[in-house]
């Protein structure tokens, strides 16, 4: 990460010139609402904004809908576990960095992505292909820039040390982001299981 901004202190200067900006999971939606125009301006200038789980991307782009759901914490303990997460848009570059197995854990609601968005992880009813909504999507239709949103909350669970898939998600996701913005791929940002990464904790705020 080239720059970390404490969400409460966010200013336009923090976003100026940044090829990508990530709002880490479980940040404050009240602050997101307060900063919405800042993020919209960033997107209109061509920025790439990534909104992680626990946050309401619909506060930035009203074309997005969010649906609350109970969390299915014990989904993996079922006799034939199925998170309902399905890989979509198979040609999307993210799928070269992340398998769908590393984009699934318990659910915190879902989105209904805007028309034309690349749906990357779709939520279906378990053991079926019946669509429910979107867990992760990538949209270029609302602004000059790009808005990616997910209901997954990998930073929080990486920091909590009890969902290894969250650590694997970050270890695939951040190299993908660097590749997307043309940054040097090496040295790879590396999230280690079993460590507390202060920068990630900082970024959650």
């Amino acid at each position: 990460m080239d720059h970390i901004a404490y969400f409460r202190d966010l200013t336009p200067a923090d976003l100026r010139g940044r090829k990508a900006a990530i709002i880490a999971c479980r940040s404050d939606n009240d602050l997101l609402q307060a900063h919405a125009s800042l993020f919209q301006a960033y997107l209109e200038e061509g920025g790439f904004l990534i909104v992680m789980g626990g946050l309401r991307a619909d506060l930035i782009d009203p074309r997005i809908a969010y649906r609350e759901t109970p969390s299915n914490f014990q989904w993996f303990m079922q006799a034939k576990p199925d998170s309902g997460h399905r890989r979509r848009t198979p040609g999307h570059s993210l799928h070269r960095f992340l398998a769908v197995e590393n984009m699934q854990w318990h659910r915190h609601g879902y989105y209904l992505a805007p028309a034309g968005a690349d749906r990357l992880v779709e939520l279906c009813r378990p053991h079926s292909e019946e669509r429910v909504g979107d867990i992760l999507f990538d949209d270029r239709g609302g602004f000059k820039g790009r808005l990616m949103a997910t209901t997954l909350d990998p930073h929080m669970h990486h920091g909590g040390h009890y969902i290894p898939a969250a650590t694997r998600f970050l270890n695939g996701f951040y190299p993908w982001v660097r590749a997307e913005i043309g940054a040097a791929l090496f040295p790879l940002p590396r999230f280690e299981a079993g460590t507390v990464q202060e920068d990630v904790q900082h970024a959650t705020l």
Binding site: Y6, R8, R26, L31, Q74, G159, G194, E198, H202
Partner: protein, 207 residues
Amino acid sequence: MARVLYLRSRNRSEAPPAAYAGAGATLDIVDIADLPDRRAKRRHDLIVIPMQSDEVMLGRKKAWLEGVWAQGGAFLANDVIAQPYLPFLRPFVPIPSPSLADLALQRHSAHPAFDALPDGFHLFGGMLGVYGVGHNPPPPGAVIVNTLGHGSYAIDWYLEGPNRGLFFCHGGPDISACHSGPDDHPNLTHGLMQWIMEQSHKPDLHP
């Protein structure tokens, strides 16, 4: 009636976990950002620091927190600590590559809030590892209540303050999620909150 302060970090529309409101005390909710920047007179019998708290902002309120502690304040703090907000706290140490045996909970010291709980109270819907996967290292003088695994990681400990007061540390996701529902008897969160407040009001904590 006792007064409990719940420190909120985000999303004003979301209520605190219900367990914190049912401990026979009034529950005041304050955004951490709205806490005083300086030492102030202690006004609450217990301060709850829930999981996923804004430790950056807690750090900015260090003077107020240390003032509460010096005045005999009592705290129930949850979650891993990344950025310590009181001098005796240290960053979380996870169990390296834990096995299921490493996630087993053991009682280290008798404790009235935990003693009557059923075996497995720490399982979250049957899941090991949610209660804790390491510890916020206990400071010198802390009483260790529960440990995890072969390495005896101190997932639950408490420290008595310099002027009465008590800091209870649960180094995992919010303790209100464990055996603290309306049908859970005893209710862990209620029992723990009441015990902390009783202890911190005793004239002499050292028998």
